[in-house]
């Protein structure tokens, strides 16, 4: 089974977010980068499937050379080889176009996180499915493969839906599809020896123009209202918070 796992190179979830150049650029100074947490779930499940059924796992990242430590970590976790499309991941359509181009080589499974945690568009898996003319499912919480058929649980409003699909397909993954894997020493020592191929991007025009960034409003002070003062709480919600 040939599995392609698409990973993002994103700021650590504990990063302090700031912008430069009149709020048009993300300030990456001092920021630690990680594999997108949802992508990390996808990668962990891909490695488990490979261990159970054989085959190979290829990780794909659309990014600059700065992504390479993140890609090496994916190799240390258990991927066999990596491909980096040498381009800034500007918008979802562009990224999906690059993934679709690589995926044309033929993969049984194309896994990725249900969304990245920087721009959180959550549409790349659907775009890739459309571009390749295959099914795309998200968010997938469980994934089993038997022969040419996959059984999966997909989160839906208020519950989950169990579905079966024939390979190949695209899946946007989330917990609890697998537990994140921590690279072991063997993986760390072999990561450097695994192939990391850099390819140039193809077409895929930008569909989005970035105007500027804005931080959410700072949280106000917490006011504690005693249980017996419900009327006071209602007044505050009406007059101060203006949400009623």
């Amino acid at each position: 089974m040939k599995i392609l796992v698409c990973i993002t190179h994103v700021p650590d979830t504990t990063s302090k977010i700031a912008f430069t150049d009149n709020n048009t650029k993300f300030d990456s100074s001092g920021v630690q980068y990680i594999i997108g947490p949802y992508d990390d779930y996808a990668l962990a499940r891909a490695v488990e499937l490979k261990e159970a059924h054989g085959g190979s796992v290829t990780v794909l990242n659309v990014g600059t050379a700065e992504s390479e430590p993140t890609i090496r970590k994916a190799l240390a976790i258990g991927a066999d080889e990596a491909i980096r499309v040498n381009a800034e991941p500007t918008d979802s359509f562009f990224v999906a176009s690059q993934i679709a181009e690589v995926a044309k080589e033929g993969y049984d499974l194309i896994l990725m996180g249900r969304e990245s945690i920087d721009f959180n568009s959550g549409v790349v898996h659907a775009l890739v499915g459309e571009m390749l003319g295959i099914v795309s499912v998200s968010p997938v919480m469980r994934l089993e493969v038997e022969g040419n058929t996959a059984t999966m649980d997909r989160e839906i409003e208020g519950g989950k839906q169990t579905i079966q699909i024939d390979l190949p397909f695209v899946a946007g993954c989330q917990e609890p599809i697998a537990e994140w894997k921590i690279p072991n020493m063997r993986g760390i020592m072999t990561a450097r020896t695994k192939p990391l191929n850099v390819v140039e991007p193809v077409g895929g025009e930008k569909q989005v123009k970035l105007v500027d960034y804005e931080l959410p409003a700072a949280k106000g002070a917490v006011k504690i209202v005693a249980q017996e003062e419900v009327n006071e709480l209602v007044k505050m919600l009406q007059n101060e918070a203006k949400v009623l």
Binding site: P69, R72, M189, A191, R192
Partner: protein, 395 residues
């Protein structure tokens, strides 16, 4: 501490992930129970985090000494001094001896499972009447032909209650004639008793050990008989160096906590960090910490270059970081005020766990004695030391 290469960065990140998942959420519970989380040895062994710098042929990962430094730094920064001490007493006291002078059979039987975390090991040196004075050891091994008959007692032995085997420093003659014996904890005549109510290191296991007519086969002599003292002295440089790393990164943890606290804590109409008296305290702590890091880094580089011959620099690093880290953490408590005195903020734990560093692996007084011999009496290794010191200045 240095610019790490790709593998070293991956190791550091993997350790941080491991610590965040397996250790940090549980530390307070283990502390409260004063319990050594023995299962962590197995988890760390499976990850390859024990013996990362041991050769692959004996079950290690083949990285360089920096791997050990990274592991000790990250564990120390996690503020779990007790388990960090247990891990250290397993990984860097008996196991390097087995790696350096063990037979293939001994390495297969003891070292390989210990690196996997399947067995836990101790190094038994200290006795009720012999600690820093190793030559005063009385635990006796009588040569009975094909075995040694072992009798005596040891104390303050880390991991001996929960452990599977130990390397026992045994008197087999006069003066420096000592032999290292591999003794299994379950053998007849071996018994242990926990030492409780310690000031710190609550998540480590500490024992008294008693040997009553224990038959130790000659196959379990580690290295050559009667040369144990010299093997120990060779190994102790790595042990002291890594304790220096532990001290430095325990202080780094406390400093970072203090820094965050003074930035956030409101007092006198602003933050603590706006008050000059606090600002200068933080500046002083930062300076002390940088000196610890620089001293430790210099000793590490020298050790990598010339090995245990870097004795004086390692000794200086050990005593300096042990003493300075305690001062830094003491000040971290001070800036936390009452919050530093309670368990919730973690600084109190760092303080009591760090107190050991000026006692363990040779007290500060012994360290100064060694340094004075180099400086005043100009004992051997001087040439190598001077060369290594020059090298570091140039670097």
């Amino acid at each position: 501490m240095k610019n790490f290469n790709e593998e070293q960065q991956l190791l550091r990140d993997a350790l941080r992930q491991f610590i965040a998942k397996e250790i940090t959420p549980n530390v307070q519970e283990w502390e409260d129970k004063e319990e050594c989380p023995k299962h962590l040895f197995k988890l760390m062994g499976e990850q390859g985090f024990i013996g990362a710098n041991f050769p692959e042929e004996v079950g290690g990962s083949g990285m360089d000494f920096w791997a050990s430094v990274i592991i000790m730094a990250e564990l120390s920064y996690a503020n779990i001094g007790g388990f960090t001490g247990s891990y250290y007493a397993h990984s860097f006291l008996p196991l390097p001896l087995l790696n350096a002078i063990g037979t293939t059979e001994q390495q297969e039987k003891y070292l390989r499972p210990a690196l996997m975390g399947d067995q836990i090991a101790s190094l038994a040196i200290t006795e009720p009447e012999a600690g820093s004075d190793v030559k005063g050891i009385k635990t006796h091994g009588e040569d009975k032909g094909d075995y040694f008959l072992l009798n005596g007692a040891k104390t303050f032995i880390t991991n001996a209650n929960i452990g599977d085997f130990m390397v026992v420093v045994t008197r087999t003659g006069e003066g420096h004639r000592m032999t290292l014996l591999l003794v299994e904890n379950q053998w007849e005549g071996v018994s242990t008793s926990p030492i409780d109510k310690k000031l710190g290191w609550h998540t480590s296991d500490t024992a008294q050990v008693f040997f009553d007519n224990v038959k130790v086969p000659k196959a379990n002599v580690l290295g050559e008989a009667h040369k144990g003292f010299y093997y120990l002295m060779n190994n102790i440089q790595e042990e002291r160096l890594l304790m220096s790393v532990m001290a430095t990164y325990s202080a780094q943890y406390a400093y970072d906590q203090a820094l965050q606290y003074v930035r956030e804590r409101k007092a006198f109409g602003g933050t603590l960090g706006e008050l000059q008296v606090i600002r200068h305290k933080i500046a002083h702590m930062a300076t002390q910490l940088e000196a610890c890091r620089a001293m430790a880094r210099s000793a590490i580089e020298s050790f990598i270059e010339i090995g245990p011959k870097a004795t004086e620099l390692i000794t200086m690093s050990k005593v300096f970081t042990a003493e300075e880290s305690m001062k830094i953490i003491n000040q971290a408590i001070q800036v936390h005020g009452g919050n530093g005195y309670v368990e919730t903020y973690g600084i109190a734990r760092a303080w009591r766990d760090t107190r050991l560093f000026s006692i363990g692996a040779g007290s500060s007084e012994i360290m100064y004695e060694i340094i004075s011999k180099f400086e005043i009496d100009r004992i051997k290794h001087e040439k190598q030391f001077v060369e290594s010191r020059k090298g570091n200045v140039t670097a």
